[in-house]
Subunit: 338 residues, 2 copies
Amino acid sequence: MASIKDVAAEAEVSVATVSRVLNDHPSVSAAARVRVLAAVDALGYRPNAVARSLRTDQTRTLGLVISDVLNPYFTELARSVEEEARALGYSVIIGNADERPELQDHHIRTLLDRRIDGLLVSPTDGGSPQMLDAALAGTPMVFVDRWIPGLDVPVVRADGTGAVRDLVAHLHGLGHRRLAIIAGPAATTTGSERVEAFRDALAAYGVPLPDVYIGQGDFQAESGRRVTEGFLDLPVPPEVVFATDNLMALGALDAVRARGLRVPDDLALAAFDDIRWFVHTDPPITAIAQPTGDLGRAAVRAVVDRIEGRAPASVTLPARLVVRSSCGESSATNRSQP
Amino acid sequence: MASIKDVAAEAEVSVATVSRVLNDHPSVSAAARVRVLAAVDALGYRPNAVARSLRTDQTRTLGLVISDVLNPYFTELARSVEEEARALGYSVIIGNADERPELQDHHIRTLLDRRIDGLLVSPTDGGSPQMLDAALAGTPMVFVDRWIPGLDVPVVRADGTGAVRDLVAHLHGLGHRRLAIIAGPAATTTGSERVEAFRDALAAYGVPLPDVYIGQGDFQAESGRRVTEGFLDLPVPPEVVFATDNLMALGALDAVRARGLRVPDDLALAAFDDIRWFVHTDPPITAIAQPTGDLGRAAVRAVVDRIEGRAPASVTLPARLVVRSSCGESSATNRSQP
DNA sequence: AACGTCGATGTAATCGATTCCACAAGGAGG
DNA sequence: CCTCCTTGTGGAATCGATTACATCGACGTT
């Protein structure tokens, strides 16, 4: 592959001049510029990003470590992150943690070794040594969706409390009184926050959230299935299950179906995170939708702000309830079952 | 960030010795080794991958350019690719083309600039100059899922002809005679191949595939919706629509639903690419499943073979039909409608 | 006419690793 | 006791860029 030396030789100038033309430095004569450009063209020369990064100490690359690529929420996030980054002249390297802390660490380490300029993380756990090191070592970093309390790192996330309140109002209005939740890992903020929001919203109606109605999931479909089966085996099963992510909702659906039961008649279902397929499931699923694209874009702007020396800001955007028919009744009229 | 020089100073050896320890070169004394390791530990030193790549002319990185991250098929592919690559000691950088040739080119160019060791591509078009250059310039390259005819590049893909034949048998058995297809872009192999397979399978039953029953889509949901509306507006609409990817099937479902019609009674539906949600859609969707994980792994092994000097082989794996209820009747018994 | 300024260019240092080569010390073999 | 080989080590070149510094005309000013 042609190097800058080859271009210099071809254009009969020094490598310095070639470099100047490429980085359009002002003091280059028009004549030299055309000769260099012609040489670049003739040789099909492309600057070696590796060499450039070594010298300039910047890679114009962002690392994004997400909890699970197979979760549509995160792939949408990844897409918007890449889009905004590209618009700002950065590339993105995605690391998929698969909800496993050790994999997350592997990716953070690898990304740091590559000297990425900034890091976007949606942590799977309460904070591994790797991540703390990264934060401490001064690599510009921003948390997306989930975060780790106590670290001085900006957070870009959606606030679901209002939407959860709306959801509980909706469920209560439909006459449901025994409400259960499938929680995510307690080590994640989204895991615990959503349970809190749910509990608080129920409290406003004087409805308790007993421990047996709190199932421990891990944001994966299988755990949603397992927890839902547990609920159905209870002496007094819940009337509604609120899955705190879309994959666990899928698992819940699997469990209900396996028993030959029906949603919402035998068990109503709602989910956190709205995805396109929820419109076409049987029945269409009521969900809380996050402004995913906005989150991704805001997160990129935040890291880039830090990278380029501006002060980055945390961002919190509201989520909203999307009512469909998986909790019973139609969406428009809130009458209780006949 | 600490460099190899700092480590050398701390351990009171030369940088050469540090490098030897790090790459466990045989001739280093035990004493030197422990001193270096201690220094590495004390400084929290991690080798700069950028510098290393510049010197060794290898990045131990694979580029993967996929057509659309929002398509679950491709995200599953990406996941298995990353997994296998990691097992072989490589990292993966994913580029999302969003089915847009110019974006695909952008990513290929960026990846090449970064001097990735190998490239995995699922081309969105018939072959851009970028891609040809990459192939010609000798960057180890493998096509996954889709490919470009006439290039001497190994292809790892699923063969759907058998499954399509099974699908047509299933549909014919159910009494369907007016079968339509939503094709992908003609420039992609999967776009044209699936239509051919469908046409051939129909021919075996003496059923024609008229042009009006071939809708032109682009592998995105919106095109599936549009094409399906067109079908429904026909004087003699088809009885079945076969969407050649899962997103267009989603669009088709949208279109049917928007008209207040039902699947399969008013229009039966089948799709290429099976995804988890198809089990829970209303109705569950009959689909052709690809061995996605196997494809991803095989593709990685193929590029790595080329990178490491072995001869890479093309791989073709069979897809299989998964019958559900979106085409009418039950899956087990193939009797025609009562 | 002498001098300072400015634009265009080249030389060489530099980034952080790897690796070739030279060299010293020590052991084996004659 | 001398040579030869092996082992461990350091110096320095190298990868492909960027950039500080030096140089050299040409030009304008006094």
